[in-house]
Subunit: 194 residues, 2 copies
DNA sequence: CGCCAACCATACGGCACCGTATTGACAAGC
DNA sequence: GCTTGTCAATACGGTGCCGTATGGTTGGCG
């Protein structure tokens, strides 16, 4: 019994620790206790704590890039549907520790300027994508804020995450409303620039 | 010279520490260094670290209640304008350390179940208020999520907080759109300019 | 003037964690 | 069966923080 651990086992445990207790819970000795080993193992797989944290952040960045590049050619409402589906799937995977949780990373970013810079960059890519799809930068930002708010609140409010489809529909309606709405159909450049 | 410190001085320093570095930065010895005194002072004003944290959270709760009860009778668009004004003022005060920052408290809540429960309660009060005003629970939730997302992102993205008026206008348009929108044409001109 | 309360400094024991060094267990392949 | 590579246990010195104990300084006030 008592299998031995690979680097990936440590990463998974670290992702779960990050998810549940924030960065401050991601500590070699603590995770070692969770895994029922001593830290002798940890320092074989990682140089130090910083190395582990960097691995987590890097993992999140690359996973996210993949998600964005794997999207199909659909834009507008159809595109948003696909994107939200993917995002929801990611959240489920993160709850199993298979991938770092967006929410946890955001929380981390809000207390670490270094992490914040990298998160902001990834975030901007998402917003830009929404802006291209909707042809409306302001709406894109609004949609993103709704999602971000949902994720933030979903960390705290039990059972809220299950209501994601509901919020997703509201977002889609918002997107649809502006296509049919004030300016005529999908007029790129109808928004504002910063 | 070298004035001596009152409890309020410690609280202010703690609010700033919370704002800048999260809960983990709220530590007696660390704040003592910031204040150029030793922790002997701290333990005169507070029982222990937990006591300080509780004071911060309690302060946030009561300040927030006051904000909500001090609102006028306006509802709908006019009410939202007043509310957002108040909220913006609060954010400025929090940056001066006069009151705990919403964003910092939310970040704290996301790593502390105990804090999360209390934050959720206060949060629900805000959402309920919006729901009464708009007569549309789903829209209320959406508006709240936009604000929450903005606050979360505003912690990280430099200069974003200055764009609050812009977001506020978008929220107000959203509220106005549903008055004029799906429900039929009930007077959209009601509640102009506060 | 002298005293008391408010406030702060100093010094201490304890704990949790970091990172390193060294040794030990075990399996795979030669 | 012996070696080698992989992973883990143990033990250690160092640091930062907690909370307490105790004594020092100061200002107001009777």
């Amino acid at each position: 019994m008592e299998r031995r651990l690979a680097r990936e086992d440590w990463l998974r445990a670290a992702r779960l620790a990050l998810l549940r207790g924030g960065v401050e819970a991601v500590r070699p000795e603590k995770i070692a206790r969770d895994l029922q080993v001593t830290k002798g193992s940890f320092y074989w797989h990682f140089r130090n704590r910083e190395d582990l944290l960097e691995a987590l952040l890097h993992e999140w960045e690359t996973e996210l890039e993949e998600l964005l590049t794997e999207l199909g050619p659909e834009t507008g409402e159809a595109g948003l549907r696909v994107l939200l589906d993917r995002v929801a799937a990611r959240v489920r995977r993160s709850e199993r520790g298979e991938v770092p949780s967006d929410a946890a990373i955001f929380t981390w970013a809000s207390v670490s300027p270094k992490v914040a810079r990298r998160v902001n960059r990834a975030e901007q890519a998402r917003i830009d994508l929404l802006a291209r799809w909707s042809g409306n930068p302001e709406l894109a930002e609004l949609l993103y804020l709704i999602w971000l708010g949902f994720v933030t609140r979903g960390q705290r409010v039990p059972g809220l995450r299950r209501r994601f489809p509901e919020i997703a529909e509201a977002m889609i309606r918002l997107l649809a409303a502006q296509d049919a709405g004030p300016g005529g159909t999908n007029d790129p450049g109808a928004g504002r620039k910063s």
